[in-house]
Structures are given as structure tokens and as C-alpha cells.
Symmetry: C2
Subunit: 359 residues, 2 copies
DNA sequence: CTGAAAGCGCTTACAG
DNA sequence: CTGAAAGCGCTTACAG
């Protein structure tokens, strides 16, 4: 800030009034005469006066800031959410501190400390994954918290999520209806609650379809495309490989598609792949990805909206009332899914060329 | 902050010392006896004391915050940069306010105002584009500013960029060397300086190769894949369409690829496409994209590093010394580029199937 | 309608 | 080594 900023005191001096009057005039306090107010405002504008939010926050006990913690800003799901958060925050006069926890426990504690020292009014956790030990630390701050894409029980904890279980059922049912019976799940090893729910949806759907679960078809990947690539390689190396794969998210699906290409196989001819999220690239992959669309930006907006609502009321009143908002997703069928191959012995990994999707 | 936080005064009371002593003990001032310091620190820890940065900043005139303004957080280039920024900021005890200007003039002024009111110590502009009228507003804050991917002359303005002109030359030369002569450029209508430089590199390279510039081959797209899609459609509708396209960035290239597919044409068989940035999806597109890799996260780190350096010295001393750091990119050849087709009359938009890339 | 006073939570000369 | 005082830039009862 370079010590340049002008203060209320200076304006008071210039306007020949007390600094209390300046403060009131600037905040449009009705007790100040219109002309005095105008005069002061003009002077303030002329001299480029801008109130110090820090000074104000000391007395109002509100900083008009919120902390937004993400596990990776480079994750398009997260970026979509943060866009919505920022939009609503801004519209309501809040600024957002962005912190990247990277899922690293030490870093997470650091984030908590910094948010505390900055006295943020509330916290938003926009993570596609979330260390489960993390939330208790956040809770100590005794301010409202809204989780996006994960939920946890307890005071101050609110959430905005898609119905992960139902959404997973839709995805797996899509595969079953195409005729697949060898369906694998590539989960996210740090996906926490959302991963468990998607897994549960997968299991239930197989069960409903009378398909026996195979434990070797359920794997967990590290976050991001590379993780998906590794686990897909593993699945492809199985004696009897799956004919379809449900991925925890689009990033993992991207990696899976790459592994399939690398093995000289083709999606969906040899193996169908579905993702989750519908990040913007899902329609640009090779092949375009069938996925579950999450309204990411809307989720961010909604989460920030809840926070604002919570912040408008006395904290004690809101601490035990937990919001758990479910938004709905949408199956987007593109070209990474098709009926399974008829001939079981086509699995020669070198010769054949991709056949076009059956669509 | 819910008014819960404990203050130095409370600790002073508990420790039976003055609050000045507490302040010193907590900051490890050597003038405080080791045992008093320890005792106070223990008490502070027990009671979960955390200093108020707002209060501290009032006297130190440093907020330990920086403002980071982006045009779109959903742009993977920006996300990569912000990741690096956050990392270094955090390591040096700075917190980052994220603001999304959306390239909207009104919103930009708002961002300036908010940063000013929060008395941020410095500003980072991580934009793939930047309204050119914007920087002068920022400059009024009289704090160091570092631009990423754009540069502007003037006090307090520093930058970290790739050498756009040279990088553009590399990309276009790659196309020329493959044998292309009908090369188009899809620029970014709000790309400002970086767009102008890439365009200049394009022009120079054509000239060096003795290829006449065709003004109908130079178009400007709105940011993002949709913009690229529109402009590619336009180029494809030309009586004589180009055989290769250089895109301002990967996002535009993504849209271009989609338009090509939609026209039942194929890249690179019918038309070669190159992007810029090497965002993580570039290797997952259909076909995988040939592009210019920018070290996005490293650029973010570097920019924040410069800001920290600048903030460590008296402002007056740094105000006229401008850093303009160039980082180098790298041509990444994937599968979206190939030699042009021999037969000029293969342009029938319906019949033919893609032929594999000549690679 | 306006002002003087107190206070928010800190840091830092200035004394002792 | 420790404390009392002043001050950072605000807001807000309390007086008048």
C-alpha cells in the first residue's frame, strides 16, 4: 500500500469538519445535512479517498472477505466452481482469498491459520477432493463453512453437491443398457465422500442388473489424468479386461482414453468410457466423452449464496442449521460409449483399426 | 470472524504483563527474556490466539496481501499461472485476493477499487487477454504491478511473458516447413499486445518464406473455444480455404478442431492446426494438438517472485525500474499438423473419410 | 445536524 | 527486560 492512501482525518481537515462527520457523510448517514455530505464527498473524490477496509473491519468485526480453499485450481471442475463463487461474492461486496491446499495436510493447516489471521467471514471449500481430517480444523474457526462436492456432518458445515449416488447410477445404467456386463470403476483415491457415493451407485446398479461385482474391477486413481492413465493401464493388463469403465471424473477419463489409445485399442470400439463433470474439454477429446454434467458455476454461485445468507444472520442462530443442497446433473451422451464388441477374441492388441462408434 | 477471536490484551491479562510485552514475546523480540516469552507463547497457544492481520497492517502499512486479477479463471492458461502465483505467495507469507475481471470495463474498475480498499501490497495480472485501458487504472494505485502474458510500458509495470513474436515464428515456420502456403491466423480479439506480437510473427514468417499475406486469412476470434469454432467456420466457408491454421491459443484451436470435424473434414488430413500454450488437454484432443508450450506455472512463480523482490525494497526506489522477463517456450509436435494434401480438388465437404496423420 | 471520546487489535518509539 | 503512551484509520454510542 506504500503508505500513500489518504485518510478520513485528512478529508476532515480539508473540509473543516470532524472526522466523525466525514465518516458519516461518506456512508450517507441521514443525520448529515445533504449539502455537507455532498461537499465532503466531493472533496473525498477529488483527493482519491478510499476507505481502509482493514480499519473498518476492526470496529465492525466483519472483514467482507471469504476464504476459498481448493485442492487444485488447475482442475477445470474447481475453476468452474470458483468462477461462480467469485461472481456472487463480488456482487455482494465480498472479496475472496484463494488458497490452494493441494490436499497436503501441512499446507491445509497453514491455510486455516492464514484464514484465521485474516479473520475471513466465511469459508468455501471448492474441492474435487478433500482430506477428511481437514474439516475439523476449519470448524474450529467458528464461522460458516460451505463445502462443494463433498459433505460432512456437523455444525457450521453446509454443502452443495450433485446427488452423487444417483448420478453414478445413471452413468452405470447407461453402460448396462448398452449391453455391458464387465464394467470397471476407476475411483479417486482422495475423493472421500463423493468417491464413496459414486462407488455405491456403481455397486447398486450392478446388483440391480444382476451383475456380480468383481473386486479387481474397482480401482482408485491418484487425481488427474495421469492417475487415470495408470489405472486404466492396469485394467487393460487384467487377464479378462472390462468392456466399459466408469471414471470418477473427466480428468481420470481423459487419462483412461489415453491409456486405451496407447494400448492400440480404441474407445468405444474396444472399451467404453464414461466420465463425470462435463468439464469444457469433454466435448473435444478423442472420442468426445460421454459424461455426467455438473452445473459447476451454478454450484459455486449457490454455495456463495448460502454463505451470504448465513452471514446475514447472527452466527449463533445459524450454527446448527445445516444446509445440504443437492443439484441435479445430466447425462450427456457423446461418442465414448457404444455396445460391447460381439467377438470376445478380438482383444489382439496390435492389428485392428478402430471401428466407428455405433451411433 | 464472528467476534470470537482473542486479543493480545486478553493474553496480557492472563499472563499478568502489559500488552506490549505480549506483542514482543509473540514476535520473538530479543529484548524479552526467554522465560517470559515462552510463558506468554504457551498461554497464547493454549487460548488459540491468532494475531489480527488487519490490526497489524494498520500500523505496519503492509497487508501481506496481493491482488491477482484474471480475465477468466476457467482458462487453463490462467489457472496454471495462478497455481504458480499462489505457491510462491504462500511461501512468502502473502495471501492472494482473486478477482475475475471478465474483460468487462465496469468490473475492472470495481476490481481496482476493491484492491485499493483492501490496500493490497502489489498486483498481478494473470490474463490471457487484457483490456488495454485497464492498466492505467491499476497504475494509479502506486504499487508494483506485474503483468503476465502481456506487457505495457510505464512506471510500476513489470511483466513476465514468453517471446510471443519468436514463438509465433516457430509455429508458422513449422507449418511452412511441412509445405503449407495457405496459412491462416485466428487471433484473439481481446488479446492485445500478445495478439499483436503473435500476428507480427505470423506476418514475418510468411514474408520470409515469400508467401503473400492474404487479409482474408487473418481473423480475430472471441476468447475461448466457441470463438475459435466460429472463425474456423468462416475460414472454411472461404472460396479457397487455408490448408493450415495458426491459432492464438489452444482454446481457440480446440474450437477450430471442432468446426473442422463438424464440416466433415479432418485435421490434419484436410487442414493442419496449431495452438499455443500447451494446456493440459492439448494432448487429449482429437487429434492431439501441435502447440507452443508455455511454462505457465513457472511464469506465475516468476511473476510473484518479482513482486516479492519489489516489495522488499522502498517503493520509490523501484518505481522506475521495470522488469520485463522473457521465458522461452517449446514447440510440441503432436498430430494436428501434417503435409498439405496434394490434390487441390479434394475439398468435397461430404464424402471422404479422414486419412491418418502423416507421422 | 455535528463533535468529542472511546475503542477495535495491533506495533513501536520512548522511558525507565 | 518491561511498561505507558501514542497512533494506524475507521465506526459509533453519547452529548449537545
Amino acid at each position: 500500500m506504500a503508505g500513500k492512501a489518504i485518510s478520513i482525518k485528512k478529508i476532515a481537515h480539508l473540509a473543516q469538519v470532524s472526522h466523525s462527520t466525514v465518516s458519516r457523510a461518506l456512508r450517507n448517514n441521514p443525520r448529515i445535512s445533504a449539502e455537507t455530505a455532498q461537499r465532503i464527498q466531493r472533496i473525498a473524490a477529488q483527493h482519491g479517498y478510499h476507505p481502509s477496509l482493514a480499519a473498518r473491519s476492526l470496529v465492525t468485526r466483519r472483514t467482507q472477505t471469504i476464504g476459498c480453499v481448493v485442492t487444485s485450481i488447475a482442475d477445470p471442475f474447481v475453476a468452474g466452481v470458483v468462477t461462480g463463487v467469485e461472481e456472487v461474492a463480488n456482487r455482494h461486496g465480498y472479496s475472496v482469498f484463494l488458497a490452494n491446499s493441494k490436499g497436503d495436510a501441512k499446507r491445509e493447516l497453514d491455510v486455516v491459520r492464514v484464514f484465521r489471521e485474516h479473520r475471513v467471514d466465511g469459508i468455501l471449500v471448492a474441492a474435487s477432493r478433500l482430506g477428511s481430517e481437514y474439516v475439523p480444523h476449519l470448524r474450529k474457526l467458528q464461522i460458516p463453512i460451505v463445502l462443494i462436492n463433498n459433505l460432512q456432518p456437523g455444525d457450521f458445515i453446509n454443502s452443495v453437491t450433485i446427488d452423487n449416488l444417483e448420478a453414478a447410477r445413471v452413468m452405470v445404467r447407461h453402460l448396462v443398457e448398452l449391453g455391458h456386463r464387465e464394467i470397471a470403476y476407476i475411483g479417486d483415491e482422495s475423493g472421500d465422500q463423493s468417491n464413496r457415493e459414486r462407488l455405491a451407485g456403481y455397486c447398486q446398479t450392478l446388483q440391480d442388473a444382476g451383475i456380480a461385482m468383481r473386486s479387481d474391477f474397482v480401482v482408485e486413481a491418484a487425481a488427474g489424468p495421469e492417475g487415470g492413465e495408470r489405472q486404466m493401464e492396469h485394467l487393460l493388463s487384467l487377464p479378462a479386461r472390462p468392456s466399459a469403465v466408469f471414471c470418477y471424473d473427466d480428468l481420470i477419463a481423459l487419462g483412461a482414453l489415453k491409456a486405451i489409445r496407447r494400448a492400440k485399442l480404441s474407445a468405444p470400439a474396444d472399451i467404453s468410457v464414461v466420465g463425470f463433470d462435463d468439464i469444457f474439454v469433454a466435448s473435444y477429446t478423442d472420442p468426445p466423452l460421454t459424461t455426467m454434467r455438473q452445473p459447476m458455476t451454478a454450484m459455486g454461485r449457490r454455495a456463495m449464496g448460502i454463505l451470504i445468507e448465513l452471514l446475514s444472520r447472527p452466527f449463533e442462530e445459524t450454527r446448527t442449521e445445516n444446509w445440504h443442497v443437492k443439484v441435479s446433473g445430466e447425462l450427456v451422451v457423446r461418442e465414448s460409449t457404444a455396445r460391447p464388441q460381439k467377438t470376445k477374441e478380438n482383444q489382439d492388441a496390435t492389428s485392428q483399426q478402430p471401428t466407428p462408434a455405433s451411433r
